[in-house]
Symmetry: C2
Subunit: 470 residues, 2 copies
Amino acid sequence: MLNRVRSAVAHLVSSGGAPPPRSKSPDLPNTTSALPAAPPEAPRSPPARAGSGSAVPVKTAEARASFSRPTFLQLSPGGLRRADDHSGRAVQSPPDTGRRLPWSTGYAEVINAGKSRHNEDQACCEVVYVEGRRSVSGVPREPSRGQGLCFYYWGLFDGHAGGGAAEMASRLLHRHIREQLKDLVEILQDPSPPPLCLPSTPEAPTSSDSSHLVAPQSCWSSHKEVTHESLVVGAIENAFQLMDEQMARERRGHQVEGGCCALVVVYLLGKIYVANAGDSRAIIVRNGEIIPMSREFTPETERQRLQLLGFLKPELLGGEFTHLEFPRRVQSKELGQRMLYRDQNMTGWAYKKIELEDLRFPLVCGEGKKARVMATIGVTRGLGDHNLKVCSSTLPIKPFLSCFPEVQVYDLTQYEHCPDDVLVLGTDGLWDVTSDCEVHSSGPSSGPGGPGHPPGPWLASPQQQAGFRG
Amino acid sequence: MLNRVRSAVAHLVSSGGAPPPRSKSPDLPNTTSALPAAPPEAPRSPPARAGSGSAVPVKTAEARASFSRPTFLQLSPGGLRRADDHSGRAVQSPPDTGRRLPWSTGYAEVINAGKSRHNEDQACCEVVYVEGRRSVSGVPREPSRGQGLCFYYWGLFDGHAGGGAAEMASRLLHRHIREQLKDLVEILQDPSPPPLCLPSTPEAPTSSDSSHLVAPQSCWSSHKEVTHESLVVGAIENAFQLMDEQMARERRGHQVEGGCCALVVVYLLGKIYVANAGDSRAIIVRNGEIIPMSREFTPETERQRLQLLGFLKPELLGGEFTHLEFPRRVQSKELGQRMLYRDQNMTGWAYKKIELEDLRFPLVCGEGKKARVMATIGVTRGLGDHNLKVCSSTLPIKPFLSCFPEVQVYDLTQYEHCPDDVLVLGTDGLWDVTSDCEVHSSGPSSGPGGPGHPPGPWLASPQQQAGFRG
């Protein structure tokens, strides 16, 4: 089954020129024709992140951004220099040193049309071994690699306002996931339902029958059924939170600037878990059909959550913002008139008489790629951003930004896959200029695998500028 | 188009016997074979609202519930008595007096297996004329029926803890909707986009060109596009809120006991708006395909909303409840052990060490039809319930119950319909024992329309007991 999900490494050029052919390896095929490069205007200039259609003037190579390639590409200093040559950006593949990337993972990158010096995005790919911390009964386990779990991991971190958060997440998030899974090693390998309650002490009974661990019912006539899958989902959710908390603790000592959207994939025990916090996107292409594996979290898609928080905790608005949304900014001369609005409970619009506090700036404003929370940031989930303040203010934005991902699960064992099938992860920069269908159609035919070679998971990371409004 | 969406009136018998044939009218066909009656055990006894499968003993006719038929059936006192004859409940159809129900609306009811004296549910069907309150420019309009709007309205109100709320909603909710639409009469009939801002005074210009009403932009480069459809959605949403506020104000004077789920349909200007607050359900059957037109709101489907509210406003939990969810009740002897839990951010489960406050009763507990908010109520949206308290406590539950509906829109002009197509509204009592597909397959073949007669919108209201836990 697994060998039907292949991958390829491609490095996209923003200049539009086709990269030169490179030597081919069985697991990490090179690209003779890459995913059609995004046009130069693709990554949009801040604050307008929406594709405006206006071309950005081409700058000189010196003024362009420098790359910091994902470590999994294993580039030598010379290779890194060549990769930074904007006149002919080569497709980079890791040497076939035996440390193969799972599923022949591919990576493609389009730099921000030379508008920034540093790529704030990060990508990573890991094979992670999880040693059980202790048995279900609480007795510490003997170290024994044979009894552990292994998961494949891909992460895409779209940084903004600095590269620190994305860098930290790319180095540590999978370790948090591993930590969360350590307690579950034995449980996940046991086909019986997970125990609802675990003893706390090593002195507890060591029987492999966990039924005694479940205390008798008091109020419910039955207990909720908890699946193994939901334990993995919970582990990933908590790992995101712990990663975010670590960033908050260590941001001063380790210069964790900015924040990042995080899109990660965990493949464990036959299932693919796609966790998304931000506006990146994952799709699976299966037999030509596109299966969305994530939803984007933006001020528009999360408007009601943000408004509810502002309504319930008005102190977070600092007397400067209103939790109501208006279709445009209210002006003082319109006091007493009636304007369209919506609150945290509404999906429709209605007219209300404009009062003094409606003149405050709306918590959520703008639309599409111009939508902003507190006139500042264009995404509503991710890691970091603990220093983020409203422009020319001390009002923190973080309470409105959630670090929690939405996790979607895909059971690989339930479907038949063909060689052309592929899992694609991309930041918003890709999806702003490329539809799901275009990614799909360009993948198999002209993708990194080249003719006759099945392409597979892509990590496409066109850098985007920080989603801040000037 | 519209004449392809037909309807019929059926009155279901809980005794299972087929109702006798009745005289037929073109618009309100009688049922020779009704929607297969739900088995006597269908409406479940409180507190377990889930279909347990155990049959409820048949009681004598005297002990059975009395009906209060929807007024749109126009029953005479004699007809009402006959309808209350449980030994042979006849299908009731309104006389063909010229006041025809739109789309030959049908109504079917299964009483609560004789377990209660009163049916707490209500249904209504209205043709509502909306006279514009004033023109867009603010000038009061001349009364002119020709310039108003007309909407069709169906409402299904599943009462609990008393019939007052359902009764009040069935009499007044459509009037609130009409009030909300009064300001929109001219706007909805004007194909140009709705004005974002309306003047407040009658002295304002009366030009029909509303562009001058839109003040120049200040912060946004463009304004949000607001559709006519979203104005109707907003009007319905606000009408629900105003109805709920009226219940809160007048509950003492008018004995508005209990609460009710509300499922209403508004047909206006070619579109069907289905607004649902509670666990009733609407479906459209189109060419044999089932199109869900609502989602149910229960402690399970709204767990994260409820938990977030409890987390942000812990005072609402009164020190008696925890916002965390556990798969079963935590016991004091388990202090220090680790139990599965989820919080407002999680969809998966994880283990946490049990602390003292985890011993509190969970805000959300149970599963399926046994799920409860604060161990009390099994639905999370609806009207009324302003008096509702946690059992043996003064803690109000209302803050967790939302009166806001989710509104789904179906554009009738976008689809071809065949004579068998039907819109079905039913309370949870119907859907607990009848799948969407069963309703569909039983509708056209043996439904109230009878052979050769296309059935249409149903209002099925099997009464359910109040969703309270003893």
